[in-house]
Structure formats: structure tokens, C-alpha cells
């Protein structure tokens, strides 16, 4: 269920106050029940899948911990097979079948056409992280099934992360905190910030992005370029907005989820971008995929070609990250492109190639360059097909003199003020606002800064945010689902 829906608001308003009235011993059970309720609205059949896969991992972890090798490894492989098998069947089988069938081989593979359960990619990774940690002896197998099930199905981060680690979330669930007014204020501020990013910024930009990306052949030049820039900020504010809401909701229950973003568009290298973007995924990938793969490749080459091993690891891992995001060649190429950026960065570091001067403006230019690379890659992420990508890339720099198409393209926004100039100003103002919010966050911490301001200023900020969110929710022509829900 989307956080930005009336159903969620109604359920949330009922279940959260009740939580603080439930005796502390029963709170974990209550949390589990409401997580199931939130997950099952609209897709009750997938709750069974979640329950079954959680039960399998719970028991496998319990029998694995005291077992000896090679039995331990067998349990690990069994768990990985169940988790990756489920993910593969729901998410990748049809993609695989379509790709094989497109080769026109004598064999035709039938498609399953199963709808992917919401959050499958996220909770599968959380469970794999748990089982591998138990295998490595870094995590004790959880004895309390309700607690383990609550860790897997905790509703704020179930649908789209952050991908939590058992060592971080289970201890917090074990010692749930009682009501605290400061925490309530902090969590409501995070929710408000997240809603603002999602509803006011992302959904507004999405109108333009959807218009252009769904019919790219009608546009060229500045319109395509503007759509690509808007897309970069739409994806960021959509996903980071979701994360802020998830973190805010979790904080209401006294749970601190991982931070998922740290001003990614301030990154000065693509590698730096990935240290700031979807951090819970990159940390997971680094620990469970990047390092093991890098070690394997180094060993396989007898440590003779460390740079080749590093470059290969980047390419393989980023391709897999692309595939994790979606079963489509556009996502695969998006991942590969990021891998390629990282390989080039590694090579240029190795050869001491410095394109940008090290003074302030040089750094700004470098940041803009990295943003351009990332934005270029987003085209693959968002386009409906590779032919659309081809068109956008080949036409986005076709500029014509006295071209009024950019101004005309903002017609879709026309509100009661009937001023295209105003609509253009609003869109670019929202982008600038996003950067300012990030800048404040990096300097002082946004929530902390607001909490330090005088009451009246604070209230003015709250009122402005609430009014903007309400008006945006009331006027948006079509409400947008969170982008990362599809993964």
C-alpha cells in the first residue's frame, strides 16, 4: 500500500495510536499484525509467500547455526536457492524467456506472467543478508519467530527499503521504546519532509517526465534535455521522499532505519555517487557481492592483474545492480553504464589524469559533470524501450533557433494562473529547492536546524509544508506510484 494514499492515512491514523496502548509485551505481535495488514491490502495472496519464505529462513538459520561444515554450507545454499529462486521466478523468468525466445531457437520457453509481489527484491535481500550473517557467525539465529517475522515484514521498509540488516533492526525490535514527544516530533518532521519531496516535487516533475518519455518522438532538443534533468530530480526526490517517510514512520515506533541517501547529486565521482545513493543497497552489495567477487577474481588471476579484477568486478556488480532494479535490457545497460563510468574513473586515477582543476569552481564543474553522467544513465532507467533511448540520445542536442517548443511543452502544467512562465519558474524552483534542502542537510541537518528555530518560524515551515502537500495532492492530474515500488 502506498504511503501516499487515503487508505494508508486512515489505517495509519488508527493503528499507530493503538500501538502505544498495547501492553509492551504484546507490541511486537501487534507490530507484526499491522505489518501484515498493511502488506495484505490489495495483495493478500503475497502475504502467504512472505510468510512461507520467512518460515523457511527462520528454520534454516536455526538448524544452520549449530551444524558443522559441509552441512552448514548445504543449508546456506538451500536458503539462497529458495530466496533467489523465488525472486528469479517472479521477477526474471519472463525476461529470460522473452530474451531466449527472441533468438528464434527451436525451443520456445513459455512465460509465467506472474505479478511480482511488492517489496520482493527488498525483503529477499534482507533475508539473504541475515542468513549469510548467521552462516558467517556474525549474527545469532533469532529464536523468537514473531521477532524474526517482524524484522522481515516491518511495514515501513517492506515495500521499498531501506534494506535493513538483522544486526541493526532485530535488537531495536527486541527492546521497543515507549512514547516520547521529541521522537514523535522528529518522526512527523521526517514524514512531512518525505511527503513534500514525493508529492510536491517528484509528482510535479513526473507530469512533464511522463509526458515526454511516453511519447519521446514528438519532442527534440531542449524539451528532451529538460525532461532528462527533471527525471534525475524526480527519481531522487521520489525515492528519497519514500525513504524519509519510511524512516519517519519507523521512528514513531522507536525504530531507526538506515539512512539511504546522502546528497547524491553533490558527488564528485560516480563511485562517490554510489556511496551516497541507495546506501542500504550499495552497502549490502559491497559486503555480499563486491568484496567476495573481487577476492574471487584476484585469486583466479593469482593477483597478477589487480586492476583488471577491480574493473571486472565493477562491471559485473553494476550490471547485476541494474538487473536487480528491473528485468529489462534498459536496466541492464543502465547498470553497465555505471560500471563503465567506474572503470574509467579507476583507470584515470591510475594514470593520474586530472581533467578538472582542484579549486572551488573546478570542483563545481566536476560535480556538474558527474551529474550529467548520472542523468544520461537515467535515460536508460526510465525509457520504455531501447529504441526510445536511441531517439532521445540522438535528438536531445538538436537545438533550433527561435524554437518555442520548450515553452509550449509546459502547457500541460497550466493552472488557474494561466501563465507558462510561472509554471516554468515553479518547476525549476522545485529543482533548486531540492538542491537547497540537500545543502542545508549537508551543512546542519535539516530536521535539527528546524528544531532549533523559534516556534513561530517552525510553525510557518510546518504550515507551508502541509499546505503545499495538500494542494499538490489535490491538484495533481494523476497521482504517481513510488518509482521504487516496482522493484
Amino acid at each position: 500500500m502506498s504511503f501516499v494514499s487515503l487508505e494508508f492515512f486512515v489505517l495509519f491514523s488508527v493503528t499507530v495510536p493503538l500501538y502505544f496502548m498495547v501492553p509492551s509485551k504484546l507490541r511486537i505481535a501487534y507490530l507484526l499484525v499491522i505489518s501484515c495488514v498493511f502488506y495484505s491490502v490489495g495483495s493478500i495472496s503475497y502475504l502467504l509467500l512472505l510468510f512461507l519464505s520467512t518460515t523457511v529462513d527462520y528454520f534454516l538459520a536455526r538448524v544452520m547455526a549449530p551444524a558443522q561444515e559441509p552441512r552448514r554450507r548445504t543449508y546456506l545454499i538451500l536458503s539462497l536457492a529458495v530466496n533467489l529462486g523465488t525472486l528469479g521466478a517472479f521477477k526474471y523468468f519472463d525476461f529470460f524467456a522473452r530474451s531466449v525466445n527472441s533468438l528464434h531457437l527451436p525451443v520456445i520457453i513459455g512465460e509465467l506472467s506472474w505479478l511480482m509481489p511488492i517489496g520482493l527484491s527488498f525483503y529477499t535481500f534482507a533475508k539473504i543478508g541475515y542468513i549469510v550473517d548467521v552462516y558467517r557467525g556474525r549474527q545469532k539465529p533469532e529464536e523468537n519467530f514473531a521477532l524474526f517475522a517482524a524484522f522481515v515484514s516491518f511495514f515501513p521498509n517492506l515495500a521499498a527499503g531501506p534494506i535493513e540488516r538483522a544486526g541493526h533492526l532485530i535488537p531495536q525490535l527486541r527492546s521497543l521504546k515507549s512514547f516520547d514527544e521529541n521522537r514523535l516530533t522528529h518522526s512527523l518532521m521526517l514524514i512531512l519532509l518525505g511527503l513534500f519531496k514525493k508529492v510536491v516535487i517528484a509528482d510535479h516533475l513526473a507530469i512533464y517526465v511522463n509526458q515526454v518519455f511516453n511519447q519521446p518522438y514528438q519532442y527534440s532538443g531542449l524539451v528532451l534535455l529538460t525532461a532528462v534533468i527533471f527525471l534525475s530530480f524526480q527519481i531522487y526526490t521520489d525515492f528519497s521522499g519514500y525513504t524519509d517517510i519510511a524512516r519517519g514512520i519507523a521512528l514513531l515506533f522507536g525504530i531507526e532505519l538506515f539512512q539511504n541517501f546522502r546528497q547524491p547529486y553533490f558527488a564528485l565521482t560516480v563511485q562517490d555517487f554510489w556511496r551516497r545513493w541507495h546506501m542500504s543497497l550499495t552497502n549490502w552489495i559491497r559486503e555480499f557481492l563486491f568484496f567476495p567477487l573481487a577476492r574471487f577474481l584476484l585469486k583466479a588471476t593469482n593477483r597478477r592483474y589487480p586492476r583488471v579484477a577491480e574493473a571486472s568486478t565493477y562491471l559485473i556488480v553494476m550490471t547485476l545492480i541494474g538487473l536487480w532494479h528491473g528485468a529489462n535490457w534498459t536496466f541492464v545497460i543502465w547498470g553497465m553504464l555505471h560500471g563503465l563510468y567506474m572503470v574509467i574513473e579507476t583507470l584515470s586515477n591510475m594514470l593520474h589524469i586530472r581533467v578538472f582543476p582542484t579549486h572551488r569552481w573546478g570542483m563545481i564543474a566536476k560535480g556538474v559533470f558527474v551529474f550529467s553522467l548520472v542523468s544520461f544513465a537515467w535515460i536508460f532507467f526510465r525509457a520504455n524501450s531501447l529504441s526510445d533511448v536511441g531517439y532521445i540520445v540522438s535528438h536531445m542536442f538538436h537545438f533550433a533557433a527561435q524554437d518555442d517548443s520548450l515553452r509550449q511543452s509546459f502547457q500541460i502544467y497550466l493552472s488557474r494562473f494561466n501563465s507558462i512562465e510561472l509554471e516554468i519558474l515553479v518547476c525549476f524552483g522545485l529543482i533548486l529547492g531540492t538542491m537547497v534542502l540537500d545543502w542545508i542537510e549537508s551543512k546542519w541537518g535539516l530536521v535539527a536546524l528546524i528544531q532549533r528555530t523559534p516556534l513561530l518560524v517552525r510553525w510557518a515551515i510546518y504550515y507551508t509544508a502541509i499546505v503545499s502537500i495538500y494542494l499538490a495532492m489535490s491538484s495533481v492530474t494523476s497521482s504517481q506510484q513510488f518509482i521504487y515500488f516496482q522493484f
Binding site: Q411, I412, R416, Y463, Y470
Partner: protein
């Protein structure tokens, strides 16, 4: 803790006021009480009030609203005589309280025809909000018995002009009288609702933009939860395929045509599209809002019905849906209002431009 709760209460108390101001500024709602613009009519229920000269704002900006002694919408310079007279029948889309008379499709068509034919043309705009197709038939009989016309145009709105019942008579409607009484006459739920809640809601609805918006939003939530029966226009729902509205409406339109034939004048049916058939993003928002799927919708149903009427009864039909959709797709033209989703001036202009060549062909064919 007490201080904290007190602050939350104060904060919450100011919020509706701030939202009211903001909604008024950025998302104004329609506060118009239509009762003021209509009078009771024995036979048609209610009709536009005669001899009005006032200003109306349905949320799309203020317009001048003038009616003649019969309640027909006219412009401030309208003349009564013309060598070509056309009777226009329709509902709120024809009455067009959202635009000035000179911007309406009838006024524009009038001048386009006059320019092309080189003679004076007068289209009597009898449009009345809440009219249905049976009322078009009743009014047409009434007018043709009183005056001579050269043509009849029926502006048929595909959203709600398909009806399931043929009627020859509408009882005169009286404006509702709701009085606020405190204390209520009895301490029962019905009495409290009648004496306090409904009059208070009426008052807020006529004064508060925020209340109107909340009411609109809550009605969609209630609908999704299955509490109320609000829904998408029935002619657009696939489940309406077997409804008797298609055959009943066809028969009514045939009656209208026969009446024209009796007076030896052509009758042209102009099919006006809904916003959902034109702006597909609006449709998808509504599908989400009502918890429907794309398969529940059949946008072509009204147009198909018209084609079948044309074949069955030999009706002359001009379907504006295609022209509106093309214009929207090509230029994102704002053909429907954002607050009040009737036609904008651009919508009226497009309708007139699409309709006029067709009328010219018929009129020239007559001579």
C-alpha cells in the same frame, strides 16, 4: 506532555484557516448556488431565469450572464431578428456559465455561419444545467409550436444525456429550504442532521472553498470504500453495455428528429465529449480514484451508440470527440476547465470550428 498536547491543538486549530486561504488562492472551488439562476417550470422542472444581467463565477473566472425574456442566454449586443434562425437545445455545456456569451460555441457558430453565408444568423441558446434529453424534446415541441426555425441543434453531452426513462413531463422544482435551528427540534440523530448538520454543511459549501474541496475528496473515498454511489459517467462504463439507456435515448432522439420533420426543418445532434474521453490522464486518475481498472471503461460506447442511431433512425450526428482528442494530443489544448470541467473558451472555439463546416454543407444543400 500537557504543554505538548496544547501546542498540537493550537496548531491544528489554525490549520483549517490557513488551508482555506491557500485553497482560495491556488485551487478555488465552485461555490455557486445554482438555485439563484433558475426558476420553476411546469413541464420542464426548472429553466434558466428570464431577464437576468449578472456576473457568475463557477471557478473559472467571472463572466457576464445575460438572459432574455424567455431565459435564453444572450450577449449584451444580441439582436432579436435574423434571416436564419436556429434553435439550440442542451444542458450546462450549452448554457456555458464558465465563459462569456461571445465565447460560447453558439455565439461563435453564429458569427462563422453569418460570415460564410453572408446573412444574419441567430442561434437561440436555450441551454439549461441539469436538462436531460427528454427535456430537449419537450422544449423543442414547445418552441416549434411558438416560433419558426430553420434548423435545430441538439448539443448532446455524452456524460449524462443518455437516460433510462422517457418522460413527457417534469414537475416544477422548488428551491430547497433549509433552516439552521439551534437547539434542534429533538435530540435524535435525524433532527440534529436536519436542523444543524445539513444547514451548516450548506452554509460551508456556499462559503468555504476548503470545505467544498474536502467534500469532493471525501466523496471519492466514500465511493472507493463502497459507502456512496458516486461513480464515473455511466455511458463510459463497460458494464453499462446492456443498459436500456441506449435504446431509450435513441428513441428520444428519434422523437426529436420526427418533430423536426413535422416542421420540415433539419435536426442535427452534436455529441459533446466528456473530459475523460479527451484527457486520458484525467481518466487514469479517476480510475485510480474509484478503484476501477482500464477494462471497466469503454470510452467509445457513446460514439458507437450515436453511429447506431444514425443507421437506425437516419439522424444527422456530429461527434466532436475525435476533434477534441486530436487537439489535446497535438497541443495539450486546455479544452476543459480545471475547476469547473465544462468547456473553456478554447473548447467552445474548437466545437464551433468543427461544427460550422458541417452545418454549412447542410444549409447549402437545402438551397
Amino acid at each position: 506532555m500537557k504543554r505538548y498536547i496544547r501546542r498540537i491543538i493550537v496548531f491544528a486549530l489554525f490549520l483549517p484557516l490557513i488551508l482555506e486561504v491557500s485553497v482560495r488562492l491556488f485551487l478555488p472551488q465552485q461555490l455557486l448556488r445554482l438555485d439563484n439562476y433558475f426558476v420553476s417550470d411546469d413541464g420542464l422542472g426548472r429553466v434558466p431565469a428570464p431577464n437576468m444581467d449578472t456576473r457568475v463565477n463557477t471557478g473559472e473566472g467571472e463572466v457576464r450572464y445575460i438572459t432574455n425574456e424567455r431565459g435564453d442566454r444572450i450577449g449584451h449586443e444580441s439582436s432579436g431578428t435574423a434571416s436564419l434562425r436556429i434553435l439550440a437545445l442542451g444542458d450546462s455545456f450549452l448554457q456555458a456559465l464558465q465563459v462569456n456569451y461571445e465565447e460560447t460555441m453558439t455565439a461563435r457558430t453564429e458569427s462563422l455561419l453569418a460570415m460564410s453565408l453572408g446573412k444574419t444568423v441567430k442561434i437561440d441558446n436555450t441551454g439549461s444545467a441539469n436538462f436531460d434529453s427528454p427535456q430537449y424534446s419537450i422544449l423543442m415541441q414547445r418552441r416549434l409550436a411558438q416560433e419558426d426555425y430553420d434548423m435545430v441543434l441538439v448539443f448532446f453531452y455524452s456524460g449524462n444525456d443518455f437516460v433510462e426513462e422517457r418522460r413527457d413531463y417534469y414537475e416544477a422544482q422548488k428551491p430547497s429550504q433549509r433552516v439552521f435551528r439551534f437547539p434542534p427540534q429533538a435530540l435524535t440523530w435525524n433532527a440534529i442532521r436536519r436542523d444543524i448538520l445539513i444547514p451548516a454543511a450548506d452554509f460551508l459549501e456556499s462559503q468555504s472553498h476548503f470545505f467544498s474541496l474536502i467534500k469532493l475528496q471525501s466523496s471519492s473515498l466514500m465511493n472507493r470504500l463502497g459507502v456512496t454511489g458516486h461513480s464515473l459517467p455511466a455511458p463510459l462504463l463497460r458494464k453499462s453495455a446492456a443498459s436500456k439507456m441506449w435504446s431509450v435515448t435513441g428513441a428520444i432522439l428519434n422523437d426529436i428528429k420526427q418533430e423536426g420533420t413535422k416542421h420540415n426543418i433539419p435536426v442535427i445532434i452534436v455529441l459533446l465529449p466528456t473530459i475523460y474521453a479527451v484527457e486520458l490522464d484525467k481518466l487514469s486518475a479517476l480510475i485510480d480514484q474509484y478503484g476501477l481498472t482500464v477494462d471497466d471503461i469503454d470510452l467509445q460506447q457513446p460514439s458507437r451508440a450515436m453511429i447506431s442511431y444514425a443507421q437506425q433512425y437516419g439522424l444527422d450526428i456530429v461527434d466532436l470527440t475525435g476533434a477534441f482528442r486530436e487537439s489535446y494530443l497535438a497541443n495539450h489544448s486546455r479544452l476543459f476547465g480545471r475547476v469547473d470541467s465544462h468547456f473553456t473558451p478554447a473548447g467552445h472555439e474548437l466545437a464551433a470550428n468543427t461544427l460550422t463546416p458541417y452545418l454549412l454543407t447542410i444549409l447549402k444543400g437545402q438551397h
